[in-house]
């Protein structure tokens, strides 16, 4: 099994989730994060003090998938998280190996737990 972690722009989340749902992936976990990278942040001013906020709000998706679904999931996310045919800051996806997956409710393991 694999853990797919995707950092995406917040406003693409609905579309990504809908697309994953369409390929049969309905379970996932989402975290609000701040990203740093090529995409620039913004400037704020408070009583003549200027702050450069480099962090950009992002969402972090975690999806555990069976090995044979991996490519499909990756393609789906890339496709729906991309904005305007690809803009700076659209995000990153990385895949890490999962040794065990457990469903707390039942104690089922691995693919049964999906």
């Amino acid at each position: 099994m694999k853990l797919v972690t995707a950092i995406i722009k917040p406003h693409t989340a609905d579309a990504v989730r809908a697309a994953l749902d369409a390929v049969g992936i309905s379970g996932l976990t989402m975290t609000q994060v701040h990203g740093y990278g090529r995409q620039k942040g913004h400037t704020e001013i408070y009583r003549a003090a200027e702050y450069t906020i480099e962090a950009v709000p992002k969402l972090r998706l975690e999806v555990v998938v069976a090995d044979d679904h991996l490519e499909q999931v990756l393609t789906t996310i890339v496709e729906h998280a991309r904005t305007n045919g690809g803009s700076i800051g659209d995000g990153k996806i990385w895949v890490t190996p999962v040794e065990t997956l457990i469903r707390v409710r039942t104690g089922e393991r691995d693919t049964q737990a999906l």
Binding site: K9, P10, H11, T12, A13, D14, A15, M30, Q32, Q39, V56, P57, L59, T83, N84, S87, G89
Partner: protein
């Protein structure tokens, strides 16, 4: 009681209009004071329990409440008659009050209505997070009808000795509602706490206030509005009103200091929640006494109320009742303290009449005060207990465990107080209809249709 040979005093009228407005503000102030003190999942429900009173009690007051409270007494000082039902016979030129210092009846109706509104709202803090909102609304309507309206008559209706039982006939002093409002609400809170029981997880999970700046704001608005509550009860812009104003302020200030002193000594820290709680305790305790004591009396009442209430709020942990926002510890205890201390500190230089024990008036006043407190407290407790159990047994008063766990905001109002997040929700139905795509064109998260004359959308972030 509108009579004919009265002359309007415009200055008193101005002050009474302002006072009514100030007291009105107390209910939203209370809503925020309470709302900040609950967990994040119950803040709107807490606020709504107060706002519901603004709606329901207003209607009942116009229908029959004013008449029951301030209509001519039907006998024994127990309740008013129905002459003023629907504010019948009252017009824009109707006056009430002393011959040359009268005010429009409508101003008085409005001012007293504000008291009728905030009294049930005060109770709500005790049952935070676990009452069904619809049952709460029914409770408020019934409670003011059978508890508040009669009690207000007992305490506030004066008619030359033929008025209310406790104020006009017995001669107990309660200038602005130490018995009728605070003892009353506090005793009712105790009853409801017994009816509804503890919140799930009480004593084991954190129930800390979710927004203390909101609590401080609420406390500030209460302090401000209370000036109308107490000094406005003079129904005139005179020295008595000024005395009530100063005493009210002094008691709030000293009670805050008293509460903070207890915290500092007991817990090691003086907290902002303690400051807010203390000042409210001081305001509660001076409410009945603000036109009976001098500034030293006000100071004493403040310090005593602040310290005793700071101590009283910890009883619940020992006795095991979940008075969520300490309505009992602050309003019942504070209301009783203030009402009884009149029996000690009242001075004829202020009351132009009765004096308390410490000013040579003997035990007589103290006895009357005790009777008044006992009568109001017992009446309110018993009727509220009966009413509460009746509602719980019939339409159900306590939230289901599912609804309580989900939180009163979501389960009772389908709302969440805050949304600071960047996560999005799916829109399901708008204005009672499934969204019609045609209505906003091809609008979607990815291709929002800009209305003319907006430029074509791009994806900036």
């Amino acid at each position: 009681m509108p009579t004919d040979a009265l002359t309007l005093n415009p200055a008193s009228t101005a002050w009474l209009l302002v006072s009514a407005a100030l007291v009105m503000l107390m209910t939203p102030g209370l809503a925020l004071f309470y709302g900040g003190m609950v967990r994040v999942r119950g803040v709107l429900n807490m606020v709504m329990m107060s706002f519901a009173c603004l709606g329901i009690v207003t209607v009942l007051w116009v229908l029959y409440g004013y008449s029951l409270a301030f209509g001519r007494d039907v006998g024994w000082g127990l309740i008013g008659n129905l002459d003023a039902v629907g504010l019948h016979h009252v017009g824009k030129d109707s006056l009430i009050g002393p011959a040359h210092d009268a005010v429009p009846v409508f101003a008085f109706v409005m001012f007293q209505l504000m008291f009728a509104i905030i009294t049930p709202a005060l109770i709500s803090g005790a049952v935070a997070d676990r009452a069904r909102f619809s049952t709460w609304c029914v409770f408020v309507a019934l409670w003011v009808s059978i508890v508040y309206f009669p009690v207000a008559h007992w305490v506030f209706f004066f008619d030359g000795g033929h008025g209310g039982l406790l104020g006009d006939r017995l001669g107990a002093l309660d200038f602005a509602g130490g018995t009728a409002v605070h003892t009353n609400a506090g005793a009712a809170a105790l009853a409801l706490v017994l009816v509804l029981g503890r919140r799930r997880g009480w004593g084991s999970v954190s129930m800390r206030p979710h927004n203390l700046p909101l609590v401080m704001l609420g406390a500030g608005l209460l302090w401000f509005g209370w000036f109308g509550f107490n000094a406005g009860s003079a129904l005139a812009a005179n020295g008595l009103a000024a005395t009530a104003l100063l005493n009210t302020h002094v008691s709030a200030a000293t009670a805050m200091l008293g509460w903070l002193a207890v915290e500092r000594w007991r817990d090691g820290k003086a907290t902002s929640l303690g400051a807010a709680s203390g000042l409210v305790a001081g305001l509660v305790a001076i409410t009945p006494a603000c036109a009976s004591v001098d500034v030293w009396g006000a100071m004493a009442i403040g310090v005593i109320a602040g310290m005793v209430c700071a101590w009283a709020i910890s009883w619940k942990y020992r006795l095991g009742y979940d008075d969520a926002l300490d309505v009992i510890g602050v309003h019942l205890v504070g209301g009783i303290i203030g009402s009884l201390l009149i029996g000690l500190f009242a001075t004829s230089t202020v009351t132009s009449g009765a004096s308390g024990l410490l000013h040579g008036g003997g035990f007589s006043l103290l006895g009357k005060q005790f009777l008044a407190v006992a009568a109001v407290g017992a009446y309110s407790f018993v009727l509220t207990l009966a009413l509460g159990f009746a509602l719980e047994r019939t339409i159900g008063f306590r939230l289901t465990p599912e609804h309580e766990e989900l939180g009163a905001d979501l389960s009772q109002h389908a709302e969440a107080a805050y949304d600071y997040s960047t996560l999005r929700a799916h829109v399901h139905r708008l204005g009672g209809h499934e969204p019609e795509p045609g209505a906003w064109g091809a609008a979607s998260a990815h291709d929002p249709a800009p209305a003319p004359p907006a430029q074509p959308p791009e994806e900036p972030s």
